[in-house]
């Protein structure tokens, strides 16, 4: 085992894991309040990436650097975050709320989720073309510093930094604000929260918007890291969902931990066994953990939202 290589794979693992963590929060938040797996969340992520792609292909930034780059990245977050939040909001209103109002069985929600996911995937393919496209360069992605010979790039710093900011922000929102208290109350006992004056529909809507905002931003970062295409949501989505389950579905801090674990496991298995083992090992870890802790790393019977 080569120590330099260890760092070479740890750093991309962490930045990938940070993205999984941010996407996983979207799954776990919605599950917390609705006990529903929003399988279309992966498409919220994809829409976020497309929003950034469309805006930046229009702007066509030429060799941006310095303050210009900072502005462009901020714009990217704003556009993709808004697009993600808007998509998630609409998704809830169109695909889930009508079912909730009519007290539909659980299976109907699941089918609706999968249907919405396919719909969004293929409408994006139809509208924006089916070839992967790169987001134009927003900054010079050079090496910032080295850890034991492993390079840390500007993009990796942005990915990890943004993820940390989003996770801390969300944690504060959920645990320190009145809105967050309403979300936690609905997650623990929706009916009683209603008796206390919490408008459950509003809380549900907000969790979709918050999850969508994070998912859209993650899509932007993922697009910068690779390319943007209509099917790009699938693998990160399913992995982030697995991360949420691994951490204990419904538990926000669990989703963060689960995301980091899967990102790092993926990267290390690509190093040790070859790239084709990436997903195999990540999901093997998921199954192994669940065999011994069926409720996930931080999952408890009562604890939904940490």
């Amino acid at each position: 085992m080569n120590l330099n290589e260890f760092w070479d794979y740890l750093i991309p693992g962490i930045s990938l894991g940070a993205l999984y963590a941010v996407i996983a929060i979207g799954y776990t938040l919605v599950y917390g309040v609705l006990q529903l797996i929003n399988f279309a969340h992966s498409e919220v992520f994809m829409v976020g990436a497309f929003a950034a792609l469309l805006v930046f292909t229009k702007i066509e930034p030429s060799n941006p650097s310095g303050l210009m780059s900072v502005g462009l990245v901020a714009l990217g977050f704003a556009v993709s975050g808004l697009a993600g939040a808007g998509t998630a909001f609409a998704l809830e209103k169109v695909a889930y709320k009508p079912l909730r109002v009519r007290n539909a069985p659980r299976l109907a929600f699941l089918i609706s989720a999968i249907g919405a996911s396919f719909f969004l995937t293929h409408i994006a393919g139809k509208l924006f073309g089916r070839d992967p496209k790169p987001i134009p360069d927003l900054f010079v992605n050079k090496k910032v510093f080295e850890i034991f010979g492993a390079r840390v790039s500007v993009l990796q710093l942005i990915m990890v930094g943004a993820a940390i900011v989003m996770m801390i922000g969300l944690d504060l929102l959920v645990n320190r604000t009145k809105m967050g208290m309403g979300i936690r109350a609905v997650a623990q006992d929706a009916e009683t929260a209603g008796l206390m004056g919490v408008d459950i529909n509003k809380v549900i809507s907000r969790t979709f918007v918050i999850g969508g905002l994070l998912g859209g931003c993650a899509g932007f970062l993922f697009g910068l890291n690779s390319q943007v295409t209509y099917t790009m949501g699938f693998f990160p989505g399913i992995t982030a969902f697995a991360a949420a389950v691994l951490g204990g579905i419904g538990n926000i801090r669990g989703a963060m931990i689960g995301g980091m674990v899967l990102g790092i496991v993926e990267s290390f298995s690509a190093w040790q066994f070859g790239d084709e083992w990436r997903y195999v090992s990540a999901f093997a870890v998921l199954i192994l953990v669940l065999m011994f802790r069926p409720t996930g790393i931080l999952g408890e019977r009562l604890g939904r939202t940490a």
Binding site: R184, A185, Q188, G194, L195, V198, R304
Partner: protein, 260 residues
């Protein structure tokens, strides 16, 4: 403790006509509620006047909890009406009903298990923009036990403490009408006595109380008036004293030594 202390004085309002001339705060008229095809309430009439303690008695499945859940907006009646302070409130969603001044301690207490005692109490005041410390202090005064445990997670409290928390949480919303669903359920007699004396204290402080109970003897001693429900209809109603003396009530609810 309250000024109303002795057993005979506690029934004074109804006996001397104070409460019976008071304005009705809550009126249920021919209220009918269905679960699917099953009719849970077959047209009941209940009146709660300002300042009273009124009890709904009855066996499991009689419709007591259904009645409370309909008042608080969790269920929508198929027919009949609910008037609160003269206004129709049937069909108003639950999160609006609480802001009308109707607080509830639900069946099974339903505290938020992963929140601290203080956060649970703050949830009770969710409808207010700001929660004055004096509101918390008032609840802690009623339930000193909750003050000791204020930073503990509610899920770790004993049954009696959870019941105190559920009532305290409802009081945080400064209710005019307090709905209590079986506050004595599963609690030791000593704790039940304690809870009932606190209910009396809350009532003496000006809050009208609608109580659902299976513990007939104790509840009737506490109440100004009561209604006995049986399979979705009102079987008999009257003052607490009248019902304590009523042979039908004695046979059905006191004969088996229910709590008393």
């Amino acid at each position: 403790m309250s000024t109303i202390e002795t057993p005979d004085l506690s029934k004074a309002p109804a006996a001397n006509g104070d409460a019976s001339t008071a304005k009705p705060l809550l009126e249920l008229r021919d209220l009918q509620v269905f679960y699917g095809a099953i009719q849970a309430l077959k047209g009941i009439d209940v009146t709660v006047r300002e300042g009273e303690i009124v009890t709904l008695l009855g066996a499991n499945g009689a419709g007591k909890t259904t009645t409370l859940r309909t008042i608080s907006g969790l269920l929508t009646p198929r027919a009949g009406e609910i008037r609160y302070g003269g206004e129709r409130i049937d069909g108003v969603p639950a999160h609006h009903v609480v802001s009308l001044g109707i607080g509830q301690s639900p069946e099974g207490r339903r505290v938020f298990p992963m929140m601290t005692v203080t956060d649970n109490l703050l949830m009770g005041a969710y409808r207010f923009k700001k929660v004055p410390q004096s509101d918390l202090d008032r609840v802690f005064e009623l339930f000193p036990r909750l003050k000791e445990r204020r930073s503990q997670l509610a899920g770790t409290l004993s049954g009696g403490e959870q019941q105190m928390l559920a009532i305290g949480r409802a009081m945080m919303g400064r209710p005019r009408l307090l709905l209590l669903d079986e506050p004595s359920m599963g609690l030791a007699p000593l704790i039940v006595a304690q809870i009932f004396s606190i209910i009396k204290e809350i009532n003496a402080g000006g809050t009208t109380v609608l109580l659902v109970e299976q513990n007939a003897a104790q509840a009737l001693k506490l109440s100004d008036r009561a209604y006995v429900l049986e399979t979705g209809s009102v079987l008999v109603s009257g003052t607490g004293e009248q019902l304590l003396a009523d042979p039908r009530v004695r046979e059905a609810y006191l004969g088996e030594g229910a709590g008393g």
